[in-house]
Amino acid sequence: MKAIIRITLKNGVLDPQGKAIESALGQLGFEGVEEARQGKLIELQVAETDPVKAKANIAHMCEKLLANTVIENYAIELLDA
């Protein structure tokens, strides 16, 4: 099955890239953007067919490598489950 992992900066962690995006959008004339935050999206194709096991395994991957939990949160979404 396919898994989508969204990695986002925790609240309160300064996001200079998000700030640059926010200011670039303003300079292009797009109004009303109150805040921009940049994150990462990782897609995994996994062999595991049991969604509970797959999610637990991917959470372990996030803790170990994919996210740095000092500054980042992660959310796992399973497709074709």
């Binding site: 962690v13 300064l14 200079p16 640059a20 490598l65 740095n68 000092v70 500054i71």
Partner: protein, 222 residues
């Protein structure tokens, strides 16, 4: 007195560090490859600067999981002195030997220039060649040098006197509490963003970095 320099794909300060180590320790260091499963018998380990694994995912994150790093972590826990410079500092935080994380510079630009620093704690093999509150100049060259940790972690670093270097005057990268380098509680693991190996000979424009390697040599000679 033998030091080991760990070489990752993308390391680019490994040879400069090796020259400094040879000058200070009087012995050519061992260069160990990231894929090795066994650490050579040695008295100190240096993780050099560079862009290990192209800085993919996060600076130092993939290097931190490489086979040799399991051995480095185990050696560090046994008390062998370990110094991480720049990308090496990022690797030390990613593998959990030091707290916090090095984030993107607040100004979003790669910064490559000399900076003024103030020495903090010197109770570690790598800082023993300096005096507390000494002002030194070293080059920085990084895109992710913005040290970040929770307030509790930052307070603990200050309360336990674990900050070894701070940016003096202007904070170049937005680092929390102007932190440029820290040590662990035991004192054998140090991480720093500045590059002492790039300013360790008068011919290079300054010698402020040499005390890092000389300090290690004096420590190992005891």
């Amino acid at each position: 007195m033998t030091a080991t320099v760990i070489v990752f794909p993308g390391s680019n300060c490994d040879r400069d560090v090796a020259v400094c180590l040879e000058a200070a320790l009087g012995e050519v260091p061992i260069m160990a490859w990231h894929g090795d499963h066994q650490l050579p018998d040695c008295d100190a380990i240096i993780l050099p600067g560079g862009f290990s694994y192209g800085d993919y995912l996060r600076g130092g994150s993939i290097a931190a999981q490489s086979p040799i790093m399991r051995e480095v972590v185990s050696a560090a826990q046994k008390g062998i002195p370990v110094l991480g410079i720049c990308n090496g500092f990022q690797i030390l935080t990613e593998c959990g030997l030091l707290p916090g994380v090095l984030m993107r510079n607040s100004g979003l630009k790669f910064i490559c220039r000399d900076v003024d620093l103030t020495v903090g704690n010197t109770q570690t093999p790598f800082m023993s060649g300096y005096k507390r509150d000494q002002n030194i100049t070293l080059p920085i060259a990084h895109n992710e040098g913005n040290y970040f940790a929770s307030d509790e972690t930052l307070d603990a670093l200050e309360d336990n006197d674990l900050i070894v270097l701070r940016y003096a005057g202007e904070n170049p990268n937005g680092a929390s509490r102007a932190i440029a380098g820290i040590r662990n509680q035991a004192g054998n693991v140090v991480g720093m963003m500045p590059h002492p190996e790039r300013l360790a000979e008068a011919a290079l424009g300054g010698e402020d970095g040499r005390a890092i390697f000389d300090g290690l040599a004096s420590f190992l000679a005891k």
